[in-house]
């Protein structure tokens, strides 16, 4: 079976960086699953996502989507294969939600009827159908994040790449966005979720890759990766480990100083 995404021996250095941020990464992402990329700040998570999205060319190694080198694809062909959900945009586009979501159809040059079907389905799956005529600037943080997801769904790509999609959202909104993404994995999409929230990765991911200083420190199921022997060398010993009812690991920070100290 061909992997949805495959990185082979990839090194990358973003513009302005003095040294490689990613160092000889091998990674395989399969369809119908949520694959979380976790790691401390500066580990190279966002750089990895940019390489996967074809927005940053590796200095070494190859990045492939469905067996095709990403670098060989035109911008439109790439957008038909890979949809990106950014953490935020540089500014709020002054447009209606529906117009914003329609931006996801740019790569397809499809007929208006096919576009309409894809846009309506994306709005419906993200719970934004009733807000289609509202201005993007009037939405709450969680609703805007769902609009970003809706636009990526309208793009109709088999791979969804999400960069910290729940940052700055409250718990309820985090669950809302991640349940939508998990639902897309159930529909057959490969969902890559870059996050620094270990517990969200534990709850929603099928596979977890731990990045540390630009290299892969560990990879496997949440139970295999989110355990003391794997995480303590990366995050230090300020973590407490437990297990939830569903058997998924729970990782919480522990005070290094005694109570009241």
């Amino acid at each position: 079976m061909v992997s949805a995404l495959r990185l082979s021996n990839v090194s990358a250095r973003p513009a302005g960086a003095r040294s490689h941020v990613l160092d000889r990464i091998d990674l395989e992402v399969r369809g119908s699953a949520v694959h979380a990329i976790v790691g401390p700040n500066g580990a190279g998570k966002t750089t990895l996502l940019r390489v996967l999205a074809g927005l940053l060319r590796p200095t070494d190694g190859t990045a492939e989507v469905s067996g095709t080198p990403i670098a060989s694809l035109s911008a439109r062909a790439r957008a038909r294969a890979l949809a990106v959900v950014p953490q935020s945009l540089e500014s709020v586009p002054p447009m209606r939600v529906e117009t914003f979501v329609a931006g996801g159809r740019y790569a397809w040059r499809a007929n208006p009827k096919a576009d309409r079907v894809a846009i309506t389905a994306a709005l419906e799956r993200t719970g934004l159908l009733s807000m289609a005529d509202r201005g993007l600037a009037t939405l709450s943080g969680g609703e805007r994040q769902r609009a970003l997801v809706a636009r990526a769904l309208a793009q109709d790509a088999p791979v969804l790449l999400c960069d910290e999609p729940t940052a700055s959202l409250d718990v309820d909104q985090q669950i809302g966005v991640l349940e939508i993404l998990a639902g897309e994995a159930c529909r057959g999409r490969a969902v890559v979720l870059v996050t620094h929230e270990l517990n969200l990765a534990s709850q929603f991911a099928d596979r977890v890759t731990l990045l540390h200083r630009g290299r892969i420190a560990a990879g496997g199921t949440p139970s295999e990766v989110l355990q003391p022997t794997v995480l303590r060398p990366v995050y230090g010993d300020g973590l407490h480990f437990a297990s939830l009812d569903n058997g998924r690991p729970l990782v919480v920070p522990r005070r290094r100083t005694p109570d009241g100290g």
Partner: protein, 357 residues
């Protein structure tokens, strides 16, 4: 619905204002009956007998003036909308960032080489391709300045170009070009070449007087190229509002969009400057007024800029005749008087308003 109403309204207003300029005339007290004016226009394309005496010449002169004014407005407003979309900054306009001055510098160099003379921007009859060579030189000047602006503006990294960067770039480039033009004028003054000096000053003030067929053709070229380019950049500029990488992830070719938008903005500005000299603020004022009317989508804004720019220049030109009478201000002076306060108002508005994701 509102977009369609604006499109129809502006198209009707453009035709009505051209007709009013031809019928009523600007800076000319010679009245021509509407039927005669129509006959004179048809005579230009061989569909009617020309009017007798000076009447035919008067109508012809007014027609070229009106068409040039409409084309200058269209070109500058379109260039403004394109630059504002490209820099994601509502204060980017051809005159503020120095693109108009760059075109003026190029045109000046061509005038010096080809032998332009007189305040009316006449060109030496001995060089038949002179108008087009002046346009080419103006295009070289405007494109060079536009490339300098893009290079410097994108050095600070991705993201919208800040208002401060745009304004400082404009101040620096306009100062450099003004210095170069002053140096040229100084040399001409020392050489007592008052004819060429007069011509250069007319360019820097901008004028719509004494326009000929080739002036209308020049701006018509700018309008045609601009209109043809709209389908290739409108949706792309809309998608760019979220950032370069965001647009690229949606399938937009950033390089192609930049090249097309910048080239068309530079060419449209060059055509306007080659036909009427330096006319400022149209590219700033018109896109802003249109955004208030129909919103920010470039798929609506760009075509409406072509019509809105024409209506703005034709309308203000006609209005000032009604106010000032027989000796109206030059187009560049009038636009500066109107655009300056508008620009100050915009600065105050944007200083108060910040919308982030």
């Amino acid at each position: 619905m509102r977009e369609r109403a604006a499109l129809i309204g502006l198209a009707v207003a453009t035709v009505a204002l051209v007709a009013a300029q031809v019928g009523v005339g600007v800076a000319s007290g010679i009245p021509v009956a509407p039927g005669d004016a129509l006959r004179a226009c048809l005579a230009l394309v061989g569909l009617a007998e020309p009017l007798e005496g000076y009447a035919q010449d008067v109508v012809t002169w007014r027609l070229w003036r009106a068409l040039t004014a409409a084309g200058v407005g269209s070109c500058l407003a379109l260039a403004g909308s394109l630059l504002q979309g490209l820099f994601r900054n509502p204060l980017a306009s051809p005159s503020l960032i120095g693109v108009t001055a760059g075109a003026n510098l190029g045109a000046t160099a061509a005038l010096l080489a080809l032998g332009g003379y007189g305040a009316a921007l006449e060109l030496a009859d001995s060089v038949s391709a002179a108008p087009y060579l002046v346009t080419l030189a103006a295009f070289t000047g405007s494109l060079t300045v536009a490339l300098v602006v893009v290079t410097i503006a994108t050095r600070s990294g991705p993201g919208p170009t800040s208002i401060a960067t745009i304004l400082l770039l404009g101040v620096a480039l306009n100062s450099c070009i003004a210095g170069a033009l002053s140096a040229v004028e100084n040399v001409l003054m020392d050489a007592r070449d008052y004819g060429t000096l007069n011509a250069l000053q007319a360019w820097s003030f901008g004028t719509l007087d004494d326009r000929k067929a080739y002036h209308a053709v020049l701006v018509g070229l700018g309008v045609a190229v601009g209109a043809a380019a709209i389908p290739f950049v409108a949706r792309e500029l809309d998608l760019l509002t979220g950032g370069d990488e965001d647009a690229e992830s949606l399938g937009v070719s950033i390089l192609k969009t930049r090249v097309v938008a910048l080239t068309v903005a530079a060419l449209a500005t060059a055509c306007a400057v080659a036909a009427a000299g330096q006319v400022g603020f149209v590219g700033l004022v018109v896109p802003h007024l249109l955004r208030l009317l129909v919103g920010s989508s470039h798929r609506t804004l760009l075509p409406l800029s072509l019509l809105g720019g024409a209506v703005f220049v034709l309308g203000t030109d006609l209005a000032q005749v009604l106010v000032v009478g027989e000796r109206p201000l030059r187009a560049g002076v009038l636009m500066s008087l109107l655009g300056g306060p508008f620009f100050l108002g915009l600065l105050m508005f944007h200083a108060r308003r910040r919308v982030g994701w």
